[in-house]
């Protein structure tokens, strides 16, 4: 019971799993495919580079939050840059998170259509997804976080089971040539794709629901570490199962990997376990991102009650997710751009805010002891 929180606060475990699941959901879709296209067999350690760069980005966020122990990132932007610039930066953050949610939902729906529900209209799948996100948004952050913690362990267990069962197809030679398309390319793309861990910015959005700078630091780094381990293990499993020339063709490699598991007539078709992980993580991720957008938006316009905005934002989310023409647009344009350039919004403004705050000697006021 030590993690039970006061009203408006969420515990460490809840926040941790919320961050981990929101961050690592991408690996179940086209993310491994796109990464192998860029760096080939070096994909598994490219993600280490991404995580290190993301950790550096988080250090800026943490130092900023430490300077403003009772504020969230939107309040800090307002204080450091003034209301107008702060509004713009918050808007940019909300916009990127909303686009990320929309792209995630569309990617989820497209892959579901390819492998599971070929006849179901895409609007129905997205509509059902958004409906769940609406319900979770009405329940609030605490409910979502508690639900995430509740399912996190079963999801991790299912993930580990899939990875272990897929062992029968692992071939070590598929990790060679070890430098992929070249070490330089690996480091470059690894650094650029640090946005894959950009969801760590959520810590700064919900900073006021957490328990101080020390917990924020622990939360950020632990979530990055766990997400990195999950992504690294998944990428390694993917590379060991599919050679670089094969893996680059697959729409949802982790799904295909789970469908390959075959231990005789009595144990096969384990993708049903994978579908369980897939659906729940996607739903949590999409809902969390929508809720984050609501928090930022409400702060921008000083709206106290989020509930009236849930349906309008759900409609915007639905509409945005319908914009891409097809799966290739989602994978090779929207998802790719988010991965390549998301860091500009996730890590750069906090860094500039930190430098500005230091130069202008600005600090947050501690109201309570």
């Amino acid at each position: 019971m030590k993690n039970m929180t006061k009203e408006g606060k969420i515990g460490f475990q809840e926040a941790l799993w919320l961050l981990v699941i929101t961050t690592s959901t991408k690996l179940f879709f086209s993310s491994p495919t796109m990464a192998v296209k860029l760096v080939g067999t070096a994909e598994w350690y490219m993600t280490l580079v991404s995580a290190v760069v993301a950790a550096v980005g988080f250090i800026f966020i943490y130092l900023l939050l430490k300077r403003y122990p009772e504020n969230n990132i939107m309040e800090i932007y307002n204080d450091v840059f003034g209301r107008f610039l702060g509004f713009i930066l918050s808007f940019l953050l909300a916009a990127v998170l909303l686009i990320e949610a929309a792209v995630g939902i569309r990617e989820f729906a497209e892959v579901q259509k390819v492998y599971v529900f070929p006849k179901t209209p895409i609007t129905f799948i997205i509509g059902a997804f958004v409906a769940v996100a609406v319900i979770l948004s009405f329940l609030g952050l605490e409910a979502v976080a508690r639900y995430t913690k509740l399912v996190a362990f079963s999801l991790i267990l299912a993930f580990v089971i899939i990875i272990i069962l897929a062992f029968q197809h692992y071939q070590l030679h598929r990790l060679f040539p070890i430098y992929g398309y070249g070490l330089g390319k690996t480091i470059y793309h690894g650094a650029m794709r640090s946005s894959a861990y950009g969801e760590v910015i959520i810590v700064a959005i919900i900073a006021k629901s957490l328990h101080g700078a020390k917990e924020i630091k622990k939360l950020g780094f632990t979530s990055l570490l766990i997400s990195e381990v999950l992504v690294l293990v998944a990428y390694l499993a993917f590379l060991l199962t599919f050679s670089y020339f094969f893996g680059r063709e697959l729409t949802a490699p982790m799904y295909v990997m789970s469908s390959l598991i075959n231990y005789g007539v009595f144990f096969q078709r384990t993708e049903s376990i994978f579908l369980f992980i897939w659906n729940l993580t996607s739903l949590i991720s999409g809902s969390v991102l929508l809720y984050m957008v609501l928090i930022v938006y409400c702060h921008m316009f000083r709206i106290k009650d989020k509930k009236p905005l849930i349906f309008p934002f759900a409609i915007i989310l639905f509409s945005l997710s319908m914009i891409p023409r097809g799966i290739m647009d989602v994978i090779s344009i929207y998802r790719q751009d988010l991965m390549q350039y998301g860091w500009i919004v996730f890590y750069i403004p906090p860094l500039i805010a930190l430098i500005t705050a230091i130069i202008r000697k600005k600090k947050g006021v501690v109201k309570s002891v």
Binding site: Y115, A128, F246, V265
Partner: protein
Amino acid sequence: MYRIAAFMLLGAVILISLTGCFDAVELNDVEHVSIIGIDRGVSDKWRITFQLPSTAGEGEKGGMGGGGQAGGGFSYKTLTIDAPSFFAGLEMANASIPRKLELSHTQLLVFSEELARSGMVGEFIAPIVRGGTIRFSSNVVISRGSAEEFVKSFKPFIGKTISREIADLMEQANESGYFTNLTLYDLYDCIKSTYHQPIAILGAVNKGENFKENGERWGTEFNIAGDYYAGDIPRKDGNETEILGLAIFDGDRMVGKLTGFESRLLSIAKGIFKRGIFTIQDPKSPDYIIPVDTRQARSPEFDILFEGTKPIIHLKIQIEGDILAIQSRINYEDPKLQPILQAAIERFIKDGLDRTINKTQELNCDVFKFGQKAVRHFGTIGEWEAYNWNSHYKEAEITTEVKFSIRRTGGLVESSQIIFSGEMNK
């Protein structure tokens, strides 16, 4: 009040969503395809043969649940159609079959050798992989005759279900090593591979042509067991179809094949051999044979070096086995004589292995997967692809080393002589 309304709303949502909606599939609406055969077509590009199970008596009794037909077993029907593409053929099949053909339980894809040799396998499997309807775990067989004939002849020999028959048949790869359990996943991975070249299971309809009812009785000559291609085993009765050996591909074009014996040696060299019985000539009394139950003792060791662009490969395999019979009754159980038998087995396996390696080098197809080790000498994909391992395999200088150890001698620890009467000895 609100709670009741919310509860009713939730109930309504669950009722609607749990019906399966758009992708609901009723068992009565689909026909599962067990085997698909693909030949080059005459009226159109592809000749596709579907084998479909149907419940016996279903028609007469008006449904699967009716008339005490439970456990009545399955019968199998086939449909052959010429079509411009696989998916077109699938749709055109529904002009005569009132159920949608469902491929998620398809276990065997059979290509004719003629089609495989014309380099059309890749062209055919690309849309199948994209469609995702046939599972990657389906086995791929290259039929020496027409695929249509193979599919029509493939029937359950033991039991009544074809799915079980196929699963059990593929398990025999672990029992004999005369072929390898290869799937669509293996083929698709290998046809694009920069590390090695693909292989597929070789199958055929055995018409019993090699089985001679009458003739001169067999003397003391020695035949290597399993050194046949599918369809050539001298046998009669049993199942009409048989699976033995492997087809070798260069890219997606079939260029050669391995016998069952050669396939077993390939499995040993790749370290995937489970067990199998090698029958060798008795080294001291060549009129007799000694069968040895063999298994892999250790994973094979490869050493690969490069002299310029030429690969120098040394392959060391270590196997072990148990003596099953000593017809000559020479006491090979004696530790002093065991090295003689061990050396004979090593020679036998090494000769077979060298023969198999030479065969694949003549075809320039690295099916031994030496490239998987060679790749470690290259830092980047660019360097590796520029070298092009598959084009250099024929130049490789390959030496082999075989170590064999006798572990057990079965239920007998000594072979004593058979005693005849005086007249017999004379």
